[in-house]
Subunit: 520 residues, 2 copies
C-alpha cells in the first residue's frame, strides 16, 4: 500500500475515502483504484519512469457525472486530470503532471451530433477519429474529417492540444466552434452562441457576444470540455497533388521559400509537411535491418534507406482539394513551382469523386500505422517530440535544421525531423524515438531534450506543445516581461479554481501554493 | 459646472484632482476636460441623447503613458474607456457606456511594423485603414488590406469589435495574430508567441503555449490593447467576379442556399453580402428626391429606385482572388450556379495585376463613401444596426427577413437590410437610419430596436455586436444556464480589474458592485 502515489497532503486513508465518495456518486464500475488500474493510466512513452503516477481514475458517463465528480474533488481538494481518450502519446498519454492526481477518463462520453446542411458537428470527448469517420460513412454524409497520424485518439482531445492533420482542415484547433465546459466550480457554461439558449448557430459562428473563450480551454486547466462544436470539410469533387523528393539537406531552404508563398497566397489550402528520409524506414522497418552500429546512422545507411525507398533527403506531399477544374489549374502552378527548384522526383496523384480512394491522412481516413515508428530501435518503444515554432523562412529553417541535426549526431540519436507548414508559420517537429529497454539510451533522452530547448531559446523559438515532463520548462521560456502572461494565467486559474482541483501543472499553470514559480 | 458628468462616487473637486494627476503624468496637451472636449467625445449617432457622456478624455502617446494613466485610474478609482480612433459609429462612436468615464483616446499611437516576407504587420491603435494603405503604397509592398465601409476608423479597433470587410481577409478578427496588452493593473503582457521574449514568430503563429488569449481582448474590457499583430493578403494576380441582381424578395432563399455551399466548400474564399434596393439610393440620393410621404417607402418608390439604378430587390457581389487561371475555372462554377437560380442580371468584373484598379472595398481600397447613407432622411443623420447571427439556411433567413421587413413597415422605417456571409454563418445587418432633428422618428428608434431584439430572441438569434445603449440588453439574451458565461466573464473581470477601472459595462461586463446583474 505504501506504493500508492498520493497528492500533496493526502494519506492512504483519505484517498480511500475519496474513492468511496466517487463510487457512491458514479457507481463502482466507473471508479478504478487498483495497482493495475493505476498502471494502465501511466504514460506508455515515459521519459522519466517515476514522473507522473495517478492515484486512480474515474470514468464519468455524462455531464452530470462530471459535475458530481468535480463536487467531490472540491470537497476533498483532490486534483483531477481530465483526459479525452488518453492517446496523447509523446506528450504524456493519459498520465497527469502531478503524481497522486486522479485521472478523469471521459472516453465513455461518445455522442455525436451532426448538421448535414452546414457540415458542423458536436462531439463528446470519447469520440475517436474512427468513430467520427464511421458515423459519416454509416449516415452517408458527404464530409471528410481531418485525422492525425494516429487516429485512435479523441477528435476533441487532439483539437484541445492543438494537434494537426493533413487536409485543409488540418489545423484542428482553428475548426473548433463553440464548447460546453464544466468549470472547476462545477458550473456548466457554453461558449460563443452556445451561451444563447437554444441558438441554432452554436456551431456556426465561433465568437458570440463579448470575449471569445474557446481558445482559453485549449492546452489549459480552466475547465473540463464536455462538448466541442467543429466544422467538417465538404467532400471535395477532386483531390490532386504530388509527392516531391529532394536530394540534398540544403534543399530544405528552397522548399520552404517556394512552398511558403503558395501556402500564404492560398494556392495551397492544406498545410504540407517536409520530412526526412527516416519517415518511411522507421515505419516499415526496424533499425537492426540496416545496421548494428550504435550512434546516429551514418551516410552509408542513409544512402541505403533512400535507395530502397527511392526517396530524397527530404520529401513533401502537396495536395489540392475542391473542384476538378480548379484543381487542374492550381496543379500546373504547383508543378511549375516545384520543377523550378530541381526536385529529384515528382510523383503526381489524382482522385475524382466516385473512384476508389487511397486510405491516407490526405483523404481524411483514420489510420494508426505511423505509430509503428516506435519499434525502430526494438524493445519497448516510445517517442517524445521537440516541436518549436519557426517563421516560414528558408534560411532560418535550414539553420535550425543544421543545429538540430548536429545535436542528434552528437548525442548519437537517429534524426526524424519535419517542417510542417501552418498558414504563416512552420512547426519543426523533432521526434526522438527510444527504447525503454536500453538504459543507456534512456539516460540520454532528457538531457538531449533540454539541450534542444536551450538551443531553440537562443534563437527565439518556443514549443507549441510539450510532454508533461517539460511543461514547466517550456512555460518558463515564455518569459516576456518576467513571465507576465504566465502570471495572467495563474491569476485566472486562482479565480476559476479556488481549490486547485483541475489538472495542476497543465501547460505550466499551477493553482496557488502548488508547483514551481515560473517567474521566480 | 453642475453639468459635468461624474462617475459614481465622484465630485467635481475629485474629478479636477484626477485631471491634474493626468496632466502631470501626460502633459496638459494630452488631457481634455472642457465642455467642448466632452462634447467631441460623445456619440455622434446617439439614440438616447443623455446616455453616455464622458467627463473628459486623455490621449496617451506610448505604452508607458497608457500604464501611467492606468496607475492614476487605479489610484482614484476613475473609470477609463479606451478607444482606438473612436469611429465605431452605429455602436457608440467614441463614447463610454457609463457616464463620467474618462475616454482614453489612443489615436496618437500610430506605429506600423511590417514583415514584407511573410506579410504580417503590427499596428498600434491609432493606425487607420488609410494609414495602413498609404504605408503599403509608400513602401511598394505587394499586399492588400481589407477595409470596412468606412475606413477612417482604426484597423485594430475594427478587428477588436469584430468588424468585417470584403476580401478573403474580411473577417478581421480571424486575422489577429498576437497582441500587446496593458492589463487593468498596469502590467504589460504579450500574447501567443509574443510571450516568448524576442520570438520572431510573434505575428506568425497565433496560439503560443497554453491557453489562447487573443479573443479574450476582443469586445472585452479585460485590457488595453496597445499593439496588434495581423496577417495581410498577398496581392492577387487576378480579381474576377460578378455583381448579381435578383428580382423578388423571395429570391433570398435561393441566393443563400446557392452561395452558402460555394462559400463552405471554398470556391468562394471571400464572404459576400446580400443587400436590398436601398443600399445604392441611400448613398447616392436623399429620401426627399423620391417621396414626401411618411412611413416606410411604398412599392411605387421601391420600383422607381430599382429602375433608376437598374438593380434587383436583392443584389450580391461575388469575388475571386488569386491566380488568373484558377479564378477563370472558379468563375465558371460561380456563373453556372448563379444562372441556375434565375438572376435578373449578371454583371461580370475582371482585373489583372498591372491594370488600373477600381477603388472599392473588394480591392481593399479605403473609402468612406458608404457613410453618406446617414443623409437619407436629411437633418443631422445617424444610424444604429441590429445584427443577429443566423445559420446559412435559405428558409430560416427568408423567414427572418419577412418578420423584420414587416416590423420596418409597422414602425414606418425604410428597410436597409443585408445578409452577410461568414464561412458558416450569416450576419443579418439591419440598419436603422435616422434623423436627430425629427423627434417623432427618434422616439421610435429605441422601442423598434427592442422589438427586433425580442423577435430574434424567440428564434434563437443573438447579436454579434451592439450599440452602447443595448449592451446589457443583448448580454442578457445570452442566457444559457442562467447566464453562466456572463458570470464567468464577471469573475475574470473582478480578478483582473479589482478596482473596476477599465470600460465598465463594455459588452455587458461590469466590475463588482457596478451595473445591472444580468443574471438577476
Amino acid at each position: 500500500m505504501a506504493d500508492i502515489p498520493l497528492p500533496p497532503g493526502f494519506t492512504v486513508q483519505k484517498l480511500a475515502e475519496v474513492q468511496r465518495a466517487f463510487e457512491s456518486a458514479l457507481g463502482a464500475d466507473q471508479v478504478f483504484f487498483t495497482p493495475l488500474d493505476r498502471a494502465s493510466y501511466n504514460d506508455k512513452f515515459w521519459v522519466d519512469p517515476v514522473g507522473h503516477n495517478p492515484s486512480g481514475a474515474i470514468a464519468p458517463e455524462s455531464v452530470e457525472q462530471v459535475q458530481a465528480a468535480i463536487k467531490i474533488a472540491n470537497q476533498y481538494k483532490i486534483p483531477l486530470w481530465p483526459i479525452s481518450r488518453g492517446k496523447n502519446l509523446g506528450y504524456g498519454g493519459s498520465a497527469p503532471v502531478l503524481s497522486g492526481t486522479v485521472v478523469m477518463d471521459l472516453s465513455r462520453m461518445k455522442k455525436i451530433e451532426f448538421d448535414p446542411e452546414t457540415g458542423t458537428a458536436v462531439v463528446e470527448p470519447g469520440v475517436s477519429f474512427y468513430d467520427l469517420y464511421d458515423y459519416l460513412k454509416a449516415n452517408n454524409l458527404p464530409y471528410w474529417i481531418s485525422t492525425p497520424g494516429n487516429s485512435w485518439g479523441s477528435v476533441m482531445g487532439n483539437a484541445l492540444d492543438r494537434g494537426v492533420g493533413y487536409t485543409p482542415y488540418g489545423e484542428h484547433t482553428k475548426r473548433i466552434n463553440g464548447l460546453e465546459v464544466v468549470l472547476p466550480t462545477g458550473e456548466l457554461v457554453r461558449t460563443g452562441m452556445g451561451a444563447f439558449t437554444g441558438a441554432p448557430t452554436w456551431q456556426a459562428y465561433p465568437f458570440g457576444f463579448g470575449p471569445g473563450w474557446d481558445q482559453m480551454f485549449v492546452q489549459s486547466n480552466f475547465g473540463v470540455v464536455t462538448k466541442m462544436g467543429m466544422w467538417l470539410m465538404p467532400e471535395p469533387e477532386s483531390l490532386m497533388g504530388m509527392d516531391v523528393e529532394f536530394d540534398r539537406p540544403e534543399d530544405l531552404k528552397a522548399m520552404i521559400d517556394t512552398i511558403g508563398p503558395l501556402r500564404r497566397e492560398g494556392v495551397l489550402q492544406q498545410s504540407p509537411s517536409i520530412g526526412n528520409w527516416l519517415r518511411a524506414a522507421a515505419v516499415l522497418t526496424t533499425r537492426d535491418e540496416w545496421t548494428d552500429k550504435p550512434g546516429a546512422l551514418g551516410e552509408d545507411v542513409i544512402d541505403a534507406i533512400r535507395k530502397r525507398f527511392n526517396i530524397g533527403w527530404w520529401g513533401v506531399s502537396l495536395r489540392l482539394y475542391g473542384r476538378e477544374s480548379v484543381n487542374k489549374a492550381s496543379y500546373r502552378i504547383l508543378e511549375d513551382a516545384m520543377k523550378s527548384i530541381n526536385p529529384m522526383l515528382i510523383k503526381p496523384t489524382s482522385w475524382v469523386r466516385g473512384e476508389p480512394i487511397e486510405h491516407t491522412g490526405w483523404t481524411g481516413t483514420p489510420i494508426t500505422f505511423p505509430m509503428q515508428n516506435v519499434n525502430w530501435y526494438g524493445g519497448r518503444g516510445g517517442h517524445v517530440g521537440f516541436s518549436p515554432i519557426l517563421k516560414q523562412d528558408g534560411d532560418a529553417a535550414l539553420a535550425q535544421f543544421k543545429r538540430t541535426y548536429a545535436r542528434y549526431q552528437e548525442w548519437g540519436m537517429d534524426y526524424q525531423g519535419s517542417f510542417a507548414f501552418g498558414e504563416r508559420h512552420l512547426t519543426n517537429v523533432n521526434a526522438m524515438i527510444f527504447n525503454h529497454d536500453d538504459p543507456e539510451m534512456m539516460a540520454k533522452v532528457d538531457p538531449f531534450f533540454r539541450q534542444l530547448v536551450a538551443d531553440a531559446k537562443e534563437h527565439g523559438y518556443g514549443e507549441y506543445r510539450t510532454h508533461l515532463d517539460y511543461m514547466d520548462l517550456v512555460a518558463a521560456t515564455y518569459d516576456f516581461n518576467n513571465h507576465a502572461l504566465w502570471r495572467l494565467n495563474q491569476t485566472v486559474k486562482d479565480a476559476l479554481d479556488p481549490n486547485g482541483i483541475l489538472a495542476p501543472g497543465k501547460s505550466g499553470i499551477w493553482p496557488s501554493g502548488m508547483g514551481p514559480r515560473t517567474d521566480a
